[in-house]
Symmetry: C2
Subunit: 121 residues, 2 copies
């Protein structure tokens, strides 16, 4: 078995770009990704999948059309598929995403913030 022990702090130390998720692990056909986020992302949704946000360090928010959810370290939120959302963070926030392999960060929306997919760290 060649599985690697994954340390979040260590993985975060290896990249600095914002809104650029890095894959750290796969479970079946799902991926665990880390991202550093700051300022506002774009409105988008994911038509075919829910998306999990877990805050590892810092604070962030997710704006929805009908409300805003604020997340601190040790908190998670599941964005249901098809629901438009716009993540944001005033200061840099370290986040883990869980979603199926192949999901683009901007979903159905094309943007200069659309990141290359399947980049591992």
């Amino acid at each position: 078995m060649t599985q690697e022990l994954i340390n979040f702090k260590d993985k975060f130390s290896k990249f600095s770009e914002h809104w650029s998720p890095r894959v750290i692990a796969e479970m079946n056909d799902y991926q665990f990704k880390l991202a550093k986020i700051q300022n506002e992302f774009v409105w988008h949704d994911h038509k075919d999948t829910d998306e999990v946000f877990i805050v590892i360090e810092g604070s962030m928010g997710i704006e929805f059309r009908d409300k805003t959810v604020l997340l601190n370290e040790g908190e998670m939120f599941v964005v249901p598929k098809g629901v438009e959302h716009k993540p944001f963070a005033q200061e840099e926030c370290k986040v883990m995403f869980v979603e199926p392999r192949g999901v683009k960060n901007t979903g159905e929306t094309s943007s200069e913030l659309t990141a290359e997919n399947d980049v591992w760290v």
Copy 2:
């Protein structure tokens, strides 16, 4: 949208049993579960799915037939499907599991440690 903000500390405060995973969220057909573990679990595997361990607080180990992996807070490990393993913790450790809905904690092994499935907290 009725999704709930999930706080790990809050969820952990609501149960005390060891080796008794509680579901805190679903993403598509996957579940996120929290468990408090202490002492030794049983040898088991999951024939059809990988299993993710994320340590939220404390330290634990996973014994495999060929090695032992030690995990501290902020670390994760993916146990591949079909690989026999035996989790353990000297002191109480708080863990998050991610796995498909319906997975039993003892996998193919029947044990007094087999927990009721799909219990939410």
